[in-house]
Symmetry: C2
Subunit: 360 residues, 2 copies
């Protein structure tokens, strides 16, 4: 039995695993309709929105592309706010779709500063859209989306605010409607405790209005078509049924637990992870005050190469942690989202202690 501590895919709880292994059904039938309807109703609770949450068969990256393809036209000005690899990915997607992109980059490990964003919008705007990352998986940084959105909104009321919360939502709160965020998207294999293969996305009324005029090509990711099908509890093309079985089962657990309790559980795991790391003398890569509740990036003593430590964890302890997305950054990343216990984390640090105390 491995201890899977990469920041996604995350381990499946036993009932989710059982659900995933169920036999196929008719994806145009009543049983599937009920499954999808209940799943999306539960997702709305966690998206904290009255909007429809659409389920796409893709990774989270597909939903990032859907957000760009459905709301923008070539030449639209976009502010791409990034503090790591996944922020950069949103930037690249906007460029791939020929947006006129202004990149606003924060150093790896730092959080996005709402005041700097506000200044960028005021001095370099207007922007049709701003794209940003809620939880930067590559560095273990949680951005303050509420403050960033307020900064953008106050300077430019009609700018679309599009947030990648692939590794955030389900592990921490994002109040889409209350914070006036226009697009929120996430992925099934993160805090949701389901297999990879589904992305979930919701659009504000403002975003749906831009959909009507956006000129970017789209077909598989056409969210208007997805919304039409969702109204009758279907998807335009055949969905990832097994993954949906899993997501339905995991959401049933999460709704029973409650949205505040789910967020508190993640905060407690993250806090325990940081305390263990500090006890071992390891460094926290993320800026203080912006620690991610779902993934922690640790810096190691200079004598220890992250790749060697990761290999030792995997080979000697069957513990799989995450490598760095950026080779210039010497960290290891510990995922603690979804189906993770304090004991799972303790096992990581017992092993890390043994590895780091031996001569490298």
């Amino acid at each position: 039995m491995i201890n899977l501590r990469i920041p996604g895919p995350t381990p499946l709880p036993p009932d989710v695993q059982m659900a995933v292994g169920q036999q196929m059904i008719n994806h145009r039938g009543a049983e599937f309709g009920a499954l999808l309807a209940e799943t999306t109703a539960w997702l709305k609770v966690f998206f904290e929105t009255q909007q429809e949450v659409l389920v796409l068969t893709s990774s989270g990256t597909g939903a990032m592309e859907a957000s760009v393809a459905n709301t923008l036209s070539p030449g639209d000005r976009v502010l791409a706010i990034s503090c790591g690899s996944f922020g950069d990915r949103f930037d690249e997607i906007a460029r791939a779709y020929r947006a006129d992109v202004t990149s606003l980059k924060f150093a790896p490990g730092r959080a996005v500063d709402p005041a700097v964003v506000r200044e960028a919008v005021e001095t370099q705007g207007p922007f049709k859209a701003a794209v940003l990352t809620h939880n930067e998986t590559s560095t273990g940084v949680l951005n303050d989306v509420q403050a960033i959105a307020a900064s953008i909104r106050s300077a430019s009321p009609e700018t679309l605010i599009m947030v990648d919360s692939i590794s955030g939502l389900g592990g921490t709160r994002l109040q889409m409607d209350a914070w006036d965020v226009d697009v929120v998207l996430t992925g099934s294999q993160k805090a949701w405790m389901a297999p990879p293969g589904l992305a979930m996305i919701a659009l504000s009324n403002r975003a749906w209005r831009t959909y009507e005029t956006a000129q970017n090509p789209r077909y598989y990711f056409d969210l208007g078509l997805a919304r039409q099908y969702a109204a009758r509890h279907q998807t335009p093309s055949t969905p990832a049924v097994s993954t949906l079985y899993g997501l339905h089962a995991s959401l049933q657990r999460m709704v029973a637990e409650g949205i505040e309790a789910v967020a508190a559980r993640h905060e407690a795991l993250a806090s325990h992870c940081r305390a263990c790391a500090l006890t071992l003398g390891l460094g926290l890569y993320a800026e203080a005050g912006h620690y991610s509740p779902t993934v922690t990036a640790l810096t190691l003593p200079a004598a220890h190469k992250p790749s060697d430590v990761l290999n030792a964890l995997a080979e000697r302890y069957a513990i799989h942690c995450g490598s760095t997305k950026d080779p210039s950054v010497g960290v290891i990343r510990i995922g603690h989202m979804g189906y993770c216990s304090i004991a799972d984390l303790d096992a990581v640090f017992v092993a890390l202690g043994e590895i780091l105390s031996s001569t490298p």
Copy 2:
């Protein structure tokens, strides 16, 4: 226990179902790499190609879009050959990407006529690409891709020939290299006996050359990036791991059975299905000589509405057959691809006999 006879998703064999329900692993680790490498090696056997077969996390429609996004530029002339709903879909995707599309439509139930295609290429060409459907799921028609490809190639040697074989490949042969087809794509939930959520696609050298200059936007479906990652047995973004477990297990069965035997099994099932239908006095919707080996569309006596018959099959017998994709066409569709037995088909016709002999 339902008898799932829609033309996909198809039932999972027990070992595939067990495989799908396995726990998550690191999608950047050695275990996953071995899984993907073996899966794609086996796919090459069925694609009958020396090219890399790429695995995308999407439905088959996503791979259709990938074929257009990766090889074409806005304004490119495309011949969209269609004999049904899924042929029309390829046409729509090319138009969504601003291709200059010439639609060549054959009546529902008819097969694509290679001579007509040749004439279209000669009189209306040159075309950058021709898109077509191997097995038209909506009407139960199998097109002669070998003859169609030869027609196109002889009239226009450099036209890209892009074939949707979503419901064909794995149930019938398509010799990609020998027939000089440029793009072949399929979906995991059809003859492959795996859950929906993965599409598989291969490109010829000619198609890879056009990739270099194609101007359509692409990111999630960037096949060049997918090929780079495939070289180290990974995917650019997180793949549908559970579905891949299933596809690996089903391919293991199929490779052991052998490509000729798999095709013969489907032909035998289709032949049995047609014989049963004729015994009951039902009509075959597809043009004679072009019957699909994976799905049969049946016309009913005028007194019986297809939707009523489908409901009776589902409610009284737990048999799920396919409705029509085109409301003007009064057929029911019986899928017999993948994990299907003669007994499964017999059960359908026993039930149909009872339903049709009662007063409608």
